[in-house]
Symmetry: C5
Subunit: 322 residues, 5 copies
């Protein structure tokens, strides 16, 4: 449970690092502030945020374990809720957590239950640069969002790579685990696509509602962000379709192979069962069975069996079964 804060002077230079004690200083002077709350206990969080008059409904959304990404503009700040890949999110499991951002041109509050790679990355960068990025809070917010989106793309290309491998594999060693992997990708990609679409719409809402200057973004940076989320949503959709196709392809290959196996089974049965009957017939103990006494009947029966087998296989070959 960590609450940390960075205080910047009017020129955006970092003047003090600390915790809640910096809040008072921020509130009564034209300073800039970044307040970062990670997995805070509710009471401590409430005290820290008291002065910011956050909308209760928005704050409750931020505290929820799961809530779709959203953008809502309030009188003096905007509220952004995004889904960030957790540290242990990987190709098999796109586990995401909620990263809430309450911000305007003078302060930014980041709130998240688990450690956030994006927050740590830019917190690190600012404490080394000792100053806010040139574009102020708007650009810091853009950087945090880029921090979120940039970690998804490599993951998606890994999925694409794996899917092309599976596409070649499903013909040879098609095992249960391969199917399990595809089914897991199917549901992971659907959930991820939904999250990407929500986050693309969040950027779209920012681009459309940009004019009232609550939080100044650079237009080309917003376009870049939008393109990234649009691309993620479109890739997730493409890969999810490819996954469905592979499962569908899987069914058609199994059906095709099942036929092939059944043909073999039918051929073996149709050839050897009758011959077993013939052997069984001459294994019967009737006292009066004329053929048993003829000298060559044994060789005749063997000859019949061999020619029956050859004829059977030839017939099947001609019908294209083998």
């Amino acid at each position: 449970m960590t609450v940390r804060a960075l205080l910047f002077n009017a020129q955006g230079e970092l003047v003090q690092q600390g915790q809640e004690e910096l809040l008072a200083h921020y509130h009564d002077s034209d300073h800039f502030l970044w307040l970062d709350i990670c997995g805070a206990e509710s009471q401590r969080e409430l005290n820290a945020l008291a002065k910011f008059e956050l909308n209760p409904l928005a704050h409750r959304d931020a505290q929820r374990h799961r809530h779709p990404p959203k953008y809502e503009a309030f009188d003096d700040h905007v509220f952004l809720l995004m889904h960030e890949l957790t540290k242990l999110g990987d190709q098999e499991n796109f586990s995401r957590h909620q990263l809430a951002i309450f911000s305007n041109n003078s302060h930014i509050i980041t709130r998240h239950d688990l450690a956030s790679e994006a927050v740590d990355k830019y917190w690190q960068q600012i404490t080394t640069d000792k100053k806010l990025p040139r574009g102020g809070m708007g650009q810091l917010c853009y950087q945090l969002l880029r921090g979120i989106v940039d970690r998804y793309l490599p993951l998606m290309f890994e999925v694409e790579q794996r899917l092309s491998e599976i596409e070649d594999e499903i013909f040879n060693a098609s095992t249960d685990d391969l199917l399990g992997e595809l089914i897991n990708y199917g549901s992971q990609l659907k959930k991820a696509r939904r999250s990407f679409v929500y986050q693309k719409e969040v950027i779209e809402e920012i681009m459309n509602s940009h004019e009232h200057q609550l939080l100044a973004f650079d237009e080309h940076e917003l376009i870049d962000l939008f393109e990234h989320f649009e691309r993620l949503a479109s890739l997730a959709n493409l890969y999810q379709e490819l996954t469905n196709d592979l499962i569908n392809g899987f069914i058609s290959i199994s059906a095709h192979r099942a036929n092939h196996i059944m043909k073999l089974l039918t051929i073996v049965t149709a050839i050897f069962l009758p011959l077993t009957l013939v052997a069984g017939i001459y294994g019967m103990n009737f006292q009066h069975m004329p053929e048993l006494s003829w000298h060559y009947s044994y060789f005749f029966v063997l000859g019949f069996m061999v020619s029956f087998t050859i004829f059977g296989i030839a017939f099947v070959k001609r019908k294209g079964w083998l």
Copy 2:
């Protein structure tokens, strides 16, 4: 069959609890009124509602056993028809009932065939607070709608939880009941999604038609409601797609396993049927069968049988069948 009423003075304080007798008092003074009708007989209902001049078509929709959620603005009141989860609605069976609301800034009429958790909850709260919520009839209406939506969300997460369990289960003990459960989810989720989409559109219509002040809502509360129903519709759609995928995955697993079983069957048959024939051949009672008299032919045949089996299994292994 219960008809109950709450009468509030101009300041919104609760002055009297009762039944139809409060109606007269309401009609000729600047009081506020909440009239709740649960499973009323038609005549008693008509008498109670006579003075409110409800549109006959709208009232008939409210009385229908089933009607899609809708919003319709009339001259002096708005008509809201929503689908509420019944008391015994659960994860297996999203049973819903119709909750009709006729309201304007001075009165609210709630009508429903079965007991309504949302109505009971806020009826309870008002009789304890002894006053209307600060935002008057508009906020009461918002609270009733929140009462409806809040009971669906936990149910949806239960479905998601169950679907991930099934996703892992379908590989081992895939039984008929699992399929039955999936097919039931498929149809429940489709029906629920349709109801959520209708209710999301109802909130959207309220947001778009807000300006003519029939019933004053708080803008952020409406956004919150809209987001909830949008989220429910989107989750129902996501889970219904996951259900389809699981059923599809099920088919592919069965197809894959069917192949595996048939291969075993074919291998057993292709090895033992010919050997049974060989045994059958030497079980024949022809008088003249040279091999029968040779001393080692029995061991020769046994040897042949063993090597035939080993060769068969090796061949199958190499072809990747086992």
Copy 3:
């Protein structure tokens, strides 16, 4: 082949019932007229309609055996083409026929090949009331459209009822006819959905083009009509999806059960075929088979067979095949 007419005075009171002879009277006085043509021969129909200067293309559409529902406004009248459920239309077979309406505020012409329940119902009502409905031709047109839509809804709920029954049935007595019923529902619902969507769009066009007063409708009545057709289209779509799901579910159940049966077949074969070989081996007539003479070899072989079977069943249980 029937042509009938109703003549009303300026106050909308019914003054005369008859056939084509009333047309002349209508044309040269401020009377109202309802002309109903059912399955007319072309020439008699042309003569009756001559004075009304109907657009030739519209009239040809009306005479077609099949044409999608449509709305087209001409200079002095509107043309409405709807699909009405025929008398023998039922849950198995949504047979529809074309009901064409040419109307403006002073006259209404209804044309249809088969008997129309909606026309008969309101023709009956007017001849008893002895006057046009209060809202004149616009309301008569609304009533005819309600007459069409009201007969579809109960049919749709019957389909829903049947689909939930099938949903429970497909697990036990899944027979061919059940599948046949589902496939029939699939195509019926698709065709019905297309017809409902067309008719919903017709009402929408009327609502959007309402302003030029050709035919006065009551706004709330139009909304009610639109909701009904929208609901029918949405129900048809929902049930058609449910039908697809059931067919898909059917495939997955069959696939699942096929596996179960094949496992049994494979188990029986894998246990008894080898044992039959063993019996066959000791049924061979080689002169020199040592085991045959040992006293206990018969009981040894029986013991082997019993333990082989028990071991086989245990092995299969452990692998979860049974």
Copy 4:
């Protein structure tokens, strides 16, 4: 390879029939002209069209063997590219060819590789009427488009008729050819739907761009055309969905029947294989087999076999397998 032309005077009366020689006359006087080019060699075509200053890109599209239907307005004429059913196009094979139209209020050029039924039909009509249709070039263009659309509709109803037959047939004599027919319909209908959608959009573009008077159409005729192509696209889509459903239904029927057959196979095997083992056991030649010498053991074994069979069939009936 034919180039033919019709020259009309200012009143639209046919004054001369011929070939390229009429072009000069047309160009320097207020005559009307219809120039029809069928499968022309490129050079002869270029010479004929030289004076018309056609846009090179548009002309190249017209000459392509295949190009999607399109509408493009140039300064002094419009360019229309449509797909007409060829003479030998039928229900099995919707073979289409390109019919290009370059037209304005004074001349119309029709260009096509194969013989065009629509062009021949109205060329025939005009040479008999000896004059242009009353609505001039706009109406001639409308008639050509009606000539195209009217030949598709009967074909579509044939497809619908065939699909309902198949819907009933797939339960009994479901053969390979039935499947082949469905798969052919699937791809034909998809390609046709795409062509109909393009042509619907062409009419829509004409309706939207109508105002700049390049080519005067009658508004109601355009609506009629649009409705026809919209109907064709919607029917093609409906039938293609029905085709998919039938293929899907086919899979479910086969799966259902496969189960039925395998149950029979398993029952036969599970009953007769054990009995064959019993017979095999008592066919063994061990010297010491006590049962062999008991007087009634043969009848005991026969009795066991009969009761085993009866018990087996009863057990299977109870489990609903038969």
Copy 5:
């Protein structure tokens, strides 16, 4: 790694061919310039592009191995990113590479990792014509885009040709490779469709943003480009649907054939297994088996076997199984 440049005078005549050394000359005079960078090392590329003040984000997109096609207008130039078919792209493998274009009315920069057929084609043409195309940079840009689109179309028709062949083939020699080919087409076409849709949207954006004269295009050429990409996207979509249908059709054919094979297997088993039992019964060595001694029992058993077989086959024929 090649950097090459073409310098043109104010009249668009080619004055000098060379490399980076021409850049200085271009920058301080009203010359036109085409700078082509193929697989440049980053530093050499940066130096060459320094003076052009390209937006860093756009340049980074251009350098990415993979980025969706996009259009972005900056103050003094537009940035176009397209997907060009690589030299070895063919029907089996639509391998594409990124072709980036930074251009305005005075210069055009083309940047690509692999050799670009479009760039080489028009570089070749200009160095032979010794001058820019009449429409200047705008038309050169159009030509490059036509160079990209024209190579896709023949490839798509090859796919269509192959799909119709497969449609006929899947009934006879349906092998694994056929399925593999279909699954490969499925994923190739999906990825290609996504790329075509992006590129269609790029042209659409140019058409909509055309007015601010950064780069002058001819309107009809843009329409032609748009139609081509729209057609490619629509063909890719059509063929991908046909591929799905063929895979689906494949499943239904396999299912249908599986039934046929299993019927044969069941018939053979149901006829010969019981007869083998009969033979086995009379092969038993019970001392007391009355039938064994009757003179004609052997022929009786043979007669029974023959009639049992004939009856079996007749029964199956009547039930339509064969």
